[in-house]
């Protein structure tokens, strides 16, 4: 059974249709990549799955773990196991990183009927994950993402993912703005999360990240639809040819 099952998803923003009938299935344990040119709807897909309310779903269905994802609020989706690593993580002055993470973790634990975690159990777990991502302890008490560099913000996203242990992790352009060292660290963090009961959806413009996080399937999103799917070799091929050929084919198909 699919963990994520998207059927004919149609989404508009301000009466402008962004996703025009998108289909996608992910099984537990799989890593898929969504690639595509700017404006093709990649980030829209990522945010709709995290239940951002600024988008209007005009058609289609999304089943997550057998439940109707589109009926969920963002916090419900998170508690059910959806995690979005933001392309642009938000700075929240005045809320400490560790406090924020514990609030999130406990909200999810509460939803699942588990006991809340106290600071004594929480902090050692957090420190261990931070070590994995080579994050300095000073980030524990600093405000969420405030004054973090681009690379630090992305590492912080992966840290949250590691702490919250989602069933489905969506990485929205996690590679953008990272130097090669940061990219390796982030990729190692993601790879450590690969497991038979977790699916990962890597949204990216460039093939670079896929050297480090090798996907099982690659999908090319053009103008709101998946135009081509294949194995990891498809990403390499795109690196050579670019998106132009697929875009041209898509235009031809929609005319015809």
């Amino acid at each position: 059974m699919s963990l994520l099952d998207i059927k004919d998803l149609r989404v508009t923003v301000d009466d402008h249709e962004i996703l025009k009938g998108l289909n996608l299935q992910l099984k537990p344990g799989e890593v898929h990549s969504i690639m595509g040119p700017n404006g093709s709807g990649k980030s829209t897909l990522a945010q709709v799955l995290a239940r951002r309310e600024t988008f209007t779903v005009t058609g289609g269905q999304v089943q997550f773990n057998g439940k109707d994802l589109l009926a969920m609020k963002p916090e419900e989706a998170a508690c059910e196991g959806v995690f979005l690593a933001f392309q642009y993580p938000v700075e929240i002055p005045g809320i400490g990183n560790a406090y924020f993470l514990r609030s999130a973790l406990n909200a999810i634990r509460k939803y699942r009927g588990q006991d809340e975690m106290d600071a004594m159990d929480f902090l050692p777990m957090l420190r261990e994950k931070m070590k994995l991502l080579e994050m300095d302890e000073k980030y524990l008490n600093r405000s969420v993402n405030e004054g973090f560099s681009g690379g630090e913000k992305k590492r912080n996203e992966i840290l949250q993912m590691a702490m919250l242990e989602p069933k489905l992790a969506i990485l929205d352009e996690t590679d953008s703005g990272l130097d090669i060292d940061a990219l390796r660290i982030v990729a190692a963090g993601v790879n450590a999360m690969r497991s038979p009961d977790r699916a990962i959806l890597v949204v990216t413009h460039y093939q670079r990240l896929l050297h480090y996080i090798v996907p099982d399937r690659v999908h090319v999103l053009v103008d709101g639809r998946i135009e081509r799917s294949g194995g990891p070799e498809l990403a390499l091929q795109l690196e050579e040819t670019g998106y132009a050929a697929i875009e041209a084919a898509a235009r031809g198909a929609s005319r015809g």
Binding site: A50, R51, R52, E53, K73, P74, E75, A77, A78, C79, F83, L84, F86, P89, V90, E91, I92, P93, G94, I95, F100, S103, A104, L105, A107, I108, Y111, S143, Q160, L164
Partner: protein, 459 residues
């Protein structure tokens, strides 16, 4: 409905009765002080919104309600009724009911030598010579009719004196209780705080009410900080939703004195908080930190007048406002840099969050600079809760109500962070949690402790 003249006549009648029987009315200087106060109020009456300093705050309600002077009229308050207002870890707690000192309700504690804390009325009777050089010397009767009125009806309040070089670690808690009455009542507490050279102290003025009914508390504090004195002053307003509170804190700072004023306005119907420091010695520093949290139809007006009179002084103003419902907030930050005050460094920031379409904020910086080598900056922002941050928190599993509360707490926390750690800060943190839970219509995720529940007056 009373006209402006009727309002003045109402107070004039009250004043004639008061001045004959007021404590220490036989002291000439005190009698003259009271008379000068009333004479000034008689000339001006209550300000109107045509007055620039009162542009955003209508006093029509205060002028129209026939407040009666509260004099021994309150029913007995028991210690039980006050217990919920006690703060652990303070040096002492003086309780004033309708402006009058209540020895039965107060806890004097063990004060170190060199610290005098007493009722002003008792101190005037005991040692008028120690009071006369300070009382009424700093408050500006000409500028503010409420200060004039307070001076006219000056009788009791708190007297605090920290002698030269004495450091008091624990805070002094001055609790002003508006008691329940059948008819609208007014009181005019007057406080005098003298922190002598090289002394150090923390003073909390807190305004609360028991019961309900229209009340007007018109309070004034003169705080004299001697050379190199370090004083933290806190003002908390959390009366019920029919209470009017007009307060003035007039600070006179000596050379290299370091004074911080922290105001938290959370309760009351119509509230005006004036903070007026005069940096009268070289190298003085002043922090004016404020937070106002309003909902319902509350009107919370923050008026600052910072006067730089001598060179090399620094002042910092930070005010954060959170307003929901139909609440109306005002921030008026006036900075005057006098001709001699070269190398002044004055900064002012006012940030506001509006939680509803019907909440309103008026923010007005006003800089008057007569020196030529100074640094003055000001800035104001008005916004809503950051939707991006809200979504970010929710995407991590935090529900909408908790996410809103977290963001509001973070915003209010900026003011909290400027307060020194200690019992007062802990107390204010609790108050903020409580106020924000009410204002944002979000629930506590833990049940209220009985004490906290008792603090939460309906607003």
């Amino acid at each position: 409905m009373a006209t402006a003249t009727q309002a003045i006549e109402n107070y004039a009648e009250s004043f004639r009765g008061f001045e004959q029987s007021a404590a220490s009315h036989d002291l000439l200087w005190l009698r003259q002080l009271r008379q000068s106060g009333f004479a000034r109020f008689g000339e001006t009456g209550f300000p109107t919104t045509r007055d620039e300093d009162w542009r955003f705050t209508s006093l029509a309600a205060i002028a129209q309600i026939p407040f009666r002077l509260a004099r021994n009229g309150h029913g007995p308050l028991s210690r039980n009724q006050i217990d919920c207002f006690r703060i652990p870890g303070v040096a002492c707690q003086l309780v004033f009911v309708d402006g009058r000192f209540s020895p039965e309700l107060s806890s004097s504690g063990q004060l170190p030598e060199g610290v005098e804390v007493a009722s002003l009325a008792a101190q005037i009777a005991r040692d008028p010579g120690a009071i006369e050089p300070h009382l009424g010397r700093h408050l500006d009767l000409q500028r503010d009719p409420f200060c004039a009125l307070n001076t006219a009806f000056l009788e009791d309040g708190a007297y605090v004196r920290i002698r030269k070089g004495v450091v008091l670690g624990e805070p002094i808690h001055l609790l002003f209780v508006s008691a329940a009455h059948d008819a609208p009542t007014v009181c005019h507490p007057r406080n005098l705080i003298v922190a002598e050279e090289n002394s150090q102290a923390t003073i909390l003025e807190e305004y609360v009410s028991t019961g309900s009914g229209a009340t007007l508390c018109n309070t004034a504090t003169e705080l004299v900080a001697g050379d190199h004195a370090v004083v933290s002053h806190y003002m908390i307003e959390r009366e019920h939703n029919q209470a009017c509170n007009i307060s003035t804190l007039r600070i006179q700072q000596g050379r290299s004195a370091d004074v911080s004023s922290h105001s938290v306005l959370a309760g009351g119907a119509l509230v005006r908080n004036n903070v007026h420091p005069v940096l009268a010695g070289e190298g003085g520093e002043c922090l004016i930190n404020g937070l106002f949290i309003g909902g319902g139809r509350q009107h919370l007006d923050n008026y600052m007048l910072v006067e730089h009179a001598r060179p090399h002084c620094a002042s910092r103003q930070f005010y954060n406002g959170i307003l929901g419902g139909h609440a109306h907030g005002v921030f008026h930050g006036r900075i005057i840099v006098h001709k001699d005050a070269q190398k002044t460094d004055a900064r002012q920031t006012n940030r506001n969050l509006l939680l509803s379409d019907t909440a309103q904020i008026d923010t007005k910086p006003q800089l008057e600079i007569y020196a030529d080598d100074v640094k003055c900056t000001h800035g104001a922002t008005i916004g809503q809760i950051d939707e991006e941050a809200l979504f970010y928190l929710r995407s991590r599993g935090v529900d909408l109500a908790s996410a809103r509360r977290l963001l509001l707490l973070a915003f209010a926390g900026e003011c909290l962070d400027r307060m020194k750690p200690g019992p007062v800060r802990v107390h204010i943190e609790k108050l903020i949690h409580d106020s924000l839970a009410q204002i944002a219509h979000v629930s506590h995720d833990v049940p209220l402790a009985p004490q906290e529940a008792a603090l939460g007056e309906p607003r």
